[in-house]
Assembly symmetry: C2
Homo-oligomer: 374 residues x 2
């Protein structure tokens, strides 16, 4: 299996950097979404860790970031090695198909038919050798014309993730573990998730896609011709003085659709998607409960701290998750499984059981007109 | 009954301002104890409210504050009408007998045999006419040579307060409701407290004493002669250039003892203490639960806020007590009866049921050497 130290020829790593992460409020904000934060205590933000992870495969010059204009400056600062031409800014969010399609069209306009892999900026991955091996296999399968996705070993019957139903292996050169995708499923209920795990045929969908630019754009042309044509038009103008004018004219009319719905699902139904199993640790850090799972225990009772553990003092408190991000001491007395997120302008106190509902607090603040806190 | 608008002749109001209020941490600190804080949202700190309450009785010139040197500047600032000569500073805490005895001895050295009433700086009282009436009765009884205490109507079988056991009325002129005190009791257990209430003979001990200076100092001379002699020696030097030298020499050797043990209890046993019933609202604001009882409800679920209620946002949360004292928004999701106290350098998250244990957090911080937070 190809796990050499060399980069993959004609391979580009596209990092879509979007999503507000409202279930991680008040740590994650509209102006500083979760991908800009170090959520694992590693010293690197999620987007920095993503770039660190793909660089051995794509090379620094092969990294492309697609993001909103509001975050371009912060990303440039966090990723000083990123080629400025490879920071593609969207004037407004148009979901993942427009973001990845724009990158594909710009890459093809610049380099011809190359392979791109799309890796979200806000995921946490452990086990880099396994990740690299999976991507190298995925690239080999993609060169054969397949749309490739990486399936994550489902370690529990999660109802928070979508699943990929895998079929027979294809026996591809350089991609021995690649297999057909029989279908994608949305987040299932608990019973269905349990059943999926029992079959051994399902893996988590991490939203990672590897494909030749010509392949994904070809599928897009058949599935969503207007979106395809708009993206091609923008890409042709991207590296010319006309870029701003064309983007201003065309972008607002682009369809908002996820790449899953626009390409992955219909192409899978037609037998054109394959899955490479990824045996690395993966989490999308969707809420404070999943964030807690990524942090080392701070004491015997499973308490977790993202930040300086010396700033947290607990008395008769077990299993708490504390983010002391305001430089103050956070003290907890007599409460178990509580979540305390302390930032300079806003404090959240809730429980681990309510982690998924933190977005309700963001909604409440929006309803109250407290936009400065969002 | 004497309830005129005029001040009481030869009456001085002594305000002992001590005690850290550790169960109100992190609002109350060693450097800024609870009497310096506005804990009721009235716009006046507890010591300011205390001075406001006694001034109609003693006049501004008749108010004497006894406090630690560390708090003298803050008190002068909060009480600009306080005569500088009436701010008696102790070099180190020596408990309530030394504080009140010092005031008595200094007052007697200055004014001869006068009446003093002692009213702690950190209590909350509602119903000022009833308070004034009780004090005027108490002064009348004190002039007859009694040590007088004010007994608070016990509205519940509290185990957090001491009790006064009242006997027959004395039929004193100007103090028709004054009655013998049969004894004082420490904080009782719940069963005993319930029994006390059932008899109708017990009232809460608010630690208020009214007495002639000669009477309290005479009792002290018999009960604790060394302490009496030391205080007399200091008082003689107080308004002379020798004050600092005498205080430095004598004060450190004074016995640390509460006025209750040194005078009130032994004198009550000998039949020398009388009680005037006080029918005003009273609380010692001992913890965040009792603080909550003093605040108006912020919503239908009994949630309380000390501060700007606009800085507190609750979703699916009932009965919380929030002190947003850091100027930030405090949000609570899915937790009932929680206590959140937010200050610029320290945050406390606990429950109303744990309010009495907040002092354990202070102990924990001291054990960790975090003295800057105490």
């Amino acid at each position: 299996m190809p796990t050499s130290e060399t980069t993959v020829p004609d391979f580009y790593a596209v990092i879509p950097a979007g999503g507000a992460g409202t279930r991680l409020w008040p740590l994650s904000r509209a102006g500083a979404p979760k991908f800009l934060h170090d959520l694992t205590g590693s010293g690197r933000s999620l987007i920095q860790a993503t770039a660190d992870r793909v660089e051995p495969l794509s090379g620094a010059a092969g990294i492309v970031v697609v993001t909103g204009a509001a975050h371009a400056a912060a990303i440039s600062e966090q990723l000083p090695g990123l080629d400025a031409a490879n920071l593609l800014t969207e004037p407004s969010p148009r979901d993942s198909m427009a973001a990845i399609g724009l990158a594909a069209a710009v890459l093809e306009a610049r380099h011809g038919d190359v392979v791109l892999g799309s890796f979200a900026a806000d995921q946490v991955i452990t086990g880099r050798p396994s990740f690299e091996q999976a991507v190298r296999e995925g690239v080999a399968a993609a060169r054969e014309g397949h749309v490739v996705t990486i399936g994550i070993a489902a370690s529990r019957p999660s109802t928070a993730f979508g699943y990929i139903h895998g079929g027979e292996t294809l026996g591809l050169d350089g991609a021995p573990s690649a297999r057909h995708v029989l279908g994608f499923t949305e987040k299932p209920d608990a019973t269905t998730a349990q059943r999926y795990l029992a079959t051994g045929e399902y893996r988590w969908n991490a939203g990672m896609f590897i494909t030749r630019t010509s392949v994904v754009l070809g599928h897009l042309a058949r599935q969503r011709p207007a979106l395809h044509d708009g993206l091609r038009e923008i890409a042709r103008a991207w590296d010319t003085p006309d870029r701003d004018a064309v983007v201003a004219r065309v972008w607002p009319g682009l369809e908002k659709v996820a790449i899953d719905h626009a390409v992955a699902e219909p192409v899978a139904d037609a037998g054109g998607v394959v899955m490479v199993p990824g045996n690395f640790g993966w989490d999308d850090v969707g809420d404070f409960n999943s964030l807690a799972a990524l942090l080392p225990a701070d004491d015997q009772s499973g308490s977790k701290v993202l930040g300086d553990a010396g700033d947290v003092v607990r008395v008769q408190s077990a299993g708490s998750v504390v983010v002391p991000a305001a430089g103050r001491v956070v003290t907890i007395l007599g409460l178990d499984d509580v979540v305390v997120v302390d930032t300079p302008d806003a404090l959240l106190v809730t429980t681990r059981a309510r982690a998924q509902q933190v977005k309700d607090m963001v909604t409440e603040l929006r309803d109250r007109g407290r936009d400065e806190l969002l």
